[in-house]
Symmetry: C2
Subunit: 203 residues, 2 copies
Amino acid sequence: MVISNKKSSKGELARERILAQALALADAAGLDALTIGSLADAVGKSKSGVFAHFGAREDLLLAVLDEATQRFGNQVFVPAMKLKRGLPRLRAILTNAVRFYRDIPHGCLILSAAHEFDDQPGPIRDAVIHYLRRLQAELLRAVNHAQDAGELRDGVDSELLAFECFGVFLAAHHSLKALRDPHGITMAERAITGLLDRAARVA
Amino acid sequence: MVISNKKSSKGELARERILAQALALADAAGLDALTIGSLADAVGKSKSGVFAHFGAREDLLLAVLDEATQRFGNQVFVPAMKLKRGLPRLRAILTNAVRFYRDIPHGCLILSAAHEFDDQPGPIRDAVIHYLRRLQAELLRAVNHAQDAGELRDGVDSELLAFECFGVFLAAHHSLKALRDPHGITMAERAITGLLDRAARVA
């Protein structure tokens, strides 16, 4: 969830361009459908040309997952970090995530990969679980900031509130993507408002 | 979401046995991995023997989805229907669903199929959406019963509460299945208690 600022050599630029294409392919057809061959066709290179940048297919998939996580971080967490710690930042994280889900055509790659690789133990599934746990940890951290700042009512269970925030993420993603329900965005935004208003200390 | 009570002929019994095996295969490897051929191998019949019961693969998949929905209904809604309309029934639906997700080894077939067939327009995706919308409608109906019985606080938005209930379903399923987090059951049950306690009219 960090913006990459590394200086790019020509080779790194080529790798970034191929990786962007790999992410687009995975977005469209699922991570499990992505192969060195399909990516080589899409970028007009030989398989060995793609292999030279990423190594084996598993390494390519791990790189795509990392790229998808950075995209989510850049659109959801980075703008929220500019806001004050506590409820303003937590509200921004939730609202940005719902809008990210609304705007991404094929749904969240990490959430889809959680289903696709659910029964395929190995490095890909481990990486998906790692990213999802990190997301949950970031949500809990944002809730804890609000609690530390005295913005939450006495007795609010921060772990439970973070779990409920994650439930809003999932319900929003599900409504918008699986059900193609345009009303999902309104429901999700009302759910965020309700959740945070109920948790907030009344002035 | 109705228990099947039809009288079974020999042919119907054979079909039910094959369908149970088809559901088990789809549970284990995903609906999209199920074919007439893999099912024929699993039940020790010829492809044409399986075809005779279900017709083409698409009809088989639709029958499996229907069977999965009936299983969910039998374990989640049927026991809840024995309880009083309103909060007792709503609480039972939510609790039963979370326990269903806990006990089913590979996760909910309908939720997985929602991801698998997300980008494959056609009768399977239509059926998945139909079942998920019916689930949401049942949740809303249970919430409305509680509201009609005067059990909810003034100003509770029943549509929003049903959306939040669905969020608890998804968060529970996600924690238990994608993240293999055994703590997910506790979190989900606390989320249900919190959600309904906040919505309930204080006596």
